[in-house]
Subunit: 254 residues, 2 copies
DNA sequence: TACAGAAACTTACCTTTGTAAAAGCGCCGT
DNA sequence: ACGGCGCTTTTACAAAGGTAAGTTTCTGTA
């Protein structure tokens, strides 16, 4: 099911039943399942389909010759990997599963048809692409300017809000199915230092992280500590309303 | 003149005289000049036009409350700032001039008309947007995984190749009109450490940097040292041909 | 329930990078 | 030619984060 995608897009435009059906159908054409650590596509491959995450988490990453790996983006349910990357001859990065993953392969032609038929879907997908770019920019800032504590706290704020936008939070709790090594690869730190920093964050009561579950007792405080401003997620559209701190005022009901 | 843009796009598709004229005309409608350190647009503003750099350098940046600043991207002649950012309500970052700057403000409608009338221009601009995204990803890797020497060397490789793609190099020399403080803001280092690292790079003969001019005596070696792979710049299209090291084999003649 | 392989966590030590505070240099305008 | 301002360079010191090499705790599975 493409419920996560639909929920996310409806934060931007309201979709008709027909539009929702069209999206659901496109996302059901070819569904694939892979295990954690397997790749969807690798650097050097030529890109083909658009991939939509249905269940589980994935990431975009690049590897240097000597083995260093940087996770460039996290994909959660409802995220699409590169709408129009098919224009490029070959992938300049890889996409891999972080957990057991269910995703839909949507052909370029299906996407094109969808966007041509339903202008609002076109608009919503274009908006999503812009938001992805904004997230990428914020990651550059995060890694470039923030210290270890701020970096991790910022990442948690972002993921929590993104998960909430696709209906994947329960109160102040969200899933966090990534290892400390993966957090390190995403933040440009070492696993050891991530561990140290998580201890600090736990000790100060800012996060409760255990197993694959994260609880944020005081989101506003975590945002303050990490200099987090949700503006770059551009959640402030007609569908959903958020206040300046990213606190949800009026949930999406349709 | 939009010669830099045209040169760059012709690395991807060949443009007819009519298409080149249309681009030149669009870039001449409204030309503005500002001084170094002035902003084109600021975080929080609502985006309007597409800005095309004609002469001089600019940058995209974000500032944290406490003053820390991260430069997120450099804009050189021929670069456009965010083709379709007008879709977002407000800017999540600022764009400012690094040097005295001449740029063209192109209205959304002009861009739309251009892309509707000339499919090849549409394609070329979309390709450029993808390349910008790829550059942004590589910056994340650069700051996240490379040490100070590698970071600066990598940045120089990238800028040199991008400048070459718009005809702004002379042999192994290119302009480099940024201060060490700006290099620091772009690489997530401090000005002091940038200075140290530049001394090292100079001492090892990898770069000759003086005033506003950079010479790279051995590009292949600088690429090796910085683990630079030009694939993410996607220069390998019909128009121009480059080898695996980014060395130009067949210059664009048209 | 027991085992194996991953993760998580520790510790001690080391390196890179950041801070603070100046001093020197060079370009520009008057 | 002079003064000033912005940029570069230097120094001494401090701190954040990295390295290496474990041990402990989970978790999934036989």
């Amino acid at each position: 099911m493409a419920t996560a995608l639909i929920k996310k897009l409806e934060g931007f435009v309201h979709l008709s039943a027909e539009e929702r059906d069209a999206l659901t159908k496109a996302a059901s054409e070819r569904v694939r399942r892979i295990r954690a650590r397997e790749d969807i596509i690798r650097e050097g491959d030529s890109p083909r389909d658009v991939n939509l995450v249905l269940e589980g988490w994935a990431c975009r990453y690049k590897t240097l010759e000597d083995g260093r790996r940087q996770i460039i983006a996290f994909f959660i349910p409802g995220d699409m990997c590169d709408l129009d990357i098919s224009m490029l001859h070959e992938m300049d990065h890889s996409i891999g599963a972080l957990t057991a993953l269910t995703f839909a392969e949507i052909s370029r032609s299906t996407i094109d048809r969808l966007m041509a038929t339903y202008p609002r879907i076109h608009q919503a997908l274009a908006w999503q692409a812009l938001v992805s770019a904004a997230v990428q920019r914020e990651w550059t800032v995060n890694i470039g300017q923030r210290n270890a504590t701020e970096r991790l706290a910022h990442l948690f704020c972002e993921l929590f809000l993104r998960l909430r936008a696709v209906g994947r939070t329960h109160g102040d709790i969200c899933e966090m199915p990534v290892t400390q090594t993966e957090l390190a690869e995403a933040t440009g730190l070492t696993p050891v230092h991530v561990n140290r920093t998580l201890q600090d964050l736990r000790a100060s009561g800012l996060i409760v992280l255990k197993g694959r579950e994260l609880r944020i007792p005081d989101l506003a405080e975590l945002q303050r500590v990490s200099l987090f401003h949700p503006n770059y997620l551009h959640l402030d559209h007609e569908g959903a309303q958020f206040d300046a701190n990213g606190g949800e005022i009026k949930p999406v009901v349709e």
